[in-house]
């Protein structure tokens, strides 16, 4: 990577202050243009973030100096009401957005508008407002007190939940792309031919998740399968894009949740089966039961159980929340979930395949796919009911 001070650095220095000369800007733009496109994008985004930070700082400063009078806040609330219904009513799902909307509307305004185009009516309205003020103010004070505390409480709860999520998000490192070179990628390369053979003649949609750099997916596409891949790590996705493959950017579980029941003719799972939490692995299998057609093939491309002892995989082993399973463990889980024709095929250099066929889907599997507590899927239905 060429040495280059970041755009963000420059923005916070005097060089990019209000008095920056046009020459300086042109010089910056020329130097930025020499970077690789991806680096240019990263620079631009970093610069934008630095500006947003400047805006936040400025707003905080003005707020602390009392430069935003309450009357302004009230007017702005009115302006926003012309544009947006309440967050929840608009179908908004983003917590921050709904919280902001709630914060904006959790206020009862007793300053009732009194304007009227009819003669005398405005006077009557003003009089009524004055007469009712003692009563309305009393009610509004109680409501505003309650609403303010409620919003405050939600804010505290949000901070606590965010802290919990941060502490217990076992997949965080996978999401950051830190684990780009994985045992799974090696397993895919070692088993690509065998997977293509196992799925040959498959008619219908085939998903490879995670597809890494696309080696295995390319093999399936070349064999004439209607296959596509899912990958969350940007750098691997770019490598796969260069092979002209059908790809989606995103996580395996998130993608599977959006797939229609019984719509896949085959599913190849890789990566998630080696290093994610047990819960996530079982969730993937539960999704597989739901999204695969009856008798469709499930292929697990697995690193060997001792792959994480290999010094080449030391960093991945240390940072991953899970460890590769032995074939017997997969056999146990797949059997419990109702898959049939379960076989495993070890290869000479470690990685192995687990092949299974989807049985007719039981109704409770479809319901469980949405559940966080996927381990209950492993209990027999009768026990669960009890």
């Amino acid at each position: 990577m060429p040495e280059q001070s970041t755009h963000a650095d420059k923005s916070t220095s005097e060089e990019f202050g209000p008095e920056a000369s046009t020459d300086r800007v042109e010089e910056y733009l020329e130097s930025a243009a020499e970077l690789e496109p991806e680096l240019q994008d990263a620079e631009a985004r970093a610069y934008m973030r630095s500006l947003e930070l400047r805006i936040e700082t400025e707003v905080a400063r003005l707020r602390s100096e009392g430069k935003y009078p309450p009357s302004l806040a009230r007017r702005v609330r009115t302006y926003y009401r012309t544009l947006l219904p309440d967050g929840a009513a608009s179908g908004e799902r983003d917590f921050d957005a709904v919280f902001k909307t709630l914060d904006r509307i959790a206020y009862m305004d007793v300053d009732v508008p009194t304007a009227s185009s009819k003669p005398g009516v405005a006077f009557v309205k003003r009089s009524l407002r004055t007469l009712m003020a003692w009563y309305l103010n009393y009610l509004a004070q109680q409501f505003n007190n309650f609403a303010t505390n409620l919003v405050h409480l939600l804010g505290i709860a949000d901070v606590r939940i965010a802290a919990l999520e941060s502490r217990f998000d076992a997949s965080a490192f996978r999401a950051t792309g830190l684990l780009a070179a994985t045992a799974a990628a090696k397993a895919q390369a070692a088993t690509a031919g065998r997977v293509a053979e196992a799925l040959s003649g498959t008619r219908g949609r085939v998903l490879v998740a995670e597809c890494a750099d696309g080696t295995l997916l390319a093999g399936l596409s070349e064999a004439g399968l209607n296959a596509y891949g899912v990958e969350s790590r940007r750098e691997l996705l770019q490598a796969a894009e260069a092979r002209n493959l059908e790809l989606r950017e995103g996580g395996t579980l998130e993608h599977l949740a959006g797939v229609a029941p019984g719509s896949l003719a085959a599913l190849v799972l890789s990566g998630i089966v080696d290093r994610d939490t047990v819960n996530d692995r079982v969730a993937a299998l539960v999704h597989a039961r739901r999204v695969l057609e009856e008798d469709a093939a499930l292929v697990l491309v697995c690193a060997s159980a001792d792959a994480f002892d290999d010094p080449a995989n030391r960093i991945e082993a240390d940072l991953s929340p899970g460890r590769p399973f032995a074939p017997e463990t997969w056999g146990f889980l797949l059997g419990k979930l109702g898959f049939g024709s379960i076989t495993s095929e070890p290869s000479e250099d470690g990685p192995y395949l687990v092949l299974a066929r989807n049985a007719r889907m039981a109704p409770e599997i479809g319901a469980l796919a949405d559940s966080k507590v996927v381990l209950t899927a492993l209990e027999p239905p009768r026990e669960r009911r009890r």
Partner: protein, 405 residues
Amino acid sequence: MSQTPLLKLAYVVPRYGAEIIGGAETATRMLAEALVRLGRAEVEVLTTTALSMDSWANHFPAGTDTLGGVTVRRFAVDGERAPNFAAATRRALAAPAAQSMDEAAELIRMQGPVSYGLLEALGAGRYDAVFFYPYLYHPTVEGVRLVNAPAIMHPAAHDEPVIDLPIFKGVFAAVSGFAYHTAAEREVVESRFQVAEKPSIDLGMGFEPHEGLGLGYLREMGIEGRPFILCLGRVDAPKGTTLLVDLFREYKERNPSDLQLVVAGPVYIAPNPAPDVHVVGPVSEAAKDELLSECSALVSPSAFESFAIVLLEAWAKRKPVLVNSICAATSEQVQRSGGGLRFDGFETFEAALNLLTRDASVAAALGAAGQRYALSRYHWPDLIDRYVAFIRRVMAAEASKSRLS
């Protein structure tokens, strides 16, 4: 050497014409004309004779016409917007998911336009693929199941209550592929409808950079000689123009300067008059180019967009943009490009506007980032290459499905 045969494609859109300025309608026309211009497809548009989306009243003559190399087949409107549609919408959208299928179907019919001639022609047509743009209207809701070719939808969806009407589940399920404007739009669709396995593309929209300097339009509009920020598109409260004018009035009271706001586009709901605000109505392409060339920044105040071509047009001229952070699509465009800033209330609007209009280096750097982003991803030839490859992939998948059945 044998050449790949031209694709024969059809687009279904509620209204169509050069006079029509609207997200989905303009986008359809741009895509259709680019496919023809670049010699990649023969394109037919199946549409109604309506011009106004408020009434869907018959306006254009029914029949076949050619516009920009595209064959346009217009069919009479049999069902205009029902007079009680607004009241029915308010009732239904209080709990959209709780509506029955019949109630939802009735609401879509009341919304209009209903054209049985269009639906009949759609069933009889022979095309390689048929595109529906956007998801919301009767021709799409009824048409997706009638076609004899792969149905590809450009949903133009955003997070709005109406998308939760139960009728759309079947509509989205019946489609063979999806062309999304942004990843945010994909998320809106895939989080509601289980269609993630279907072929799809995050396409966006192409644009053609134009020159537009010194043509005299600014003088005609009375805005020459003073800096201005620009808002382009439909002038309507739901599009955020009323909010923008209100915020700008507050801004000018607190930050006296000679800065102006120019709002250009067809006026549906005029904002309240305010000093230094010019609502200039619809403008020609040439006038739009000059406005974009001369503005300090472009503002997109809308909370409900699935893509904003105007951002690309501003970036093409190295202009920074300011968008409403509530809008996932424009927010994503800005975040990916680094070509602008976002506001989520008056405070951030004020601070961002100060930064954009008082610091030339900030505006220049953001504008340059936006320009690079727009030119590298949304230049027509590259975008159409990606689009055609996607169309052929959907066709191949459908052909393989047919062989199987």
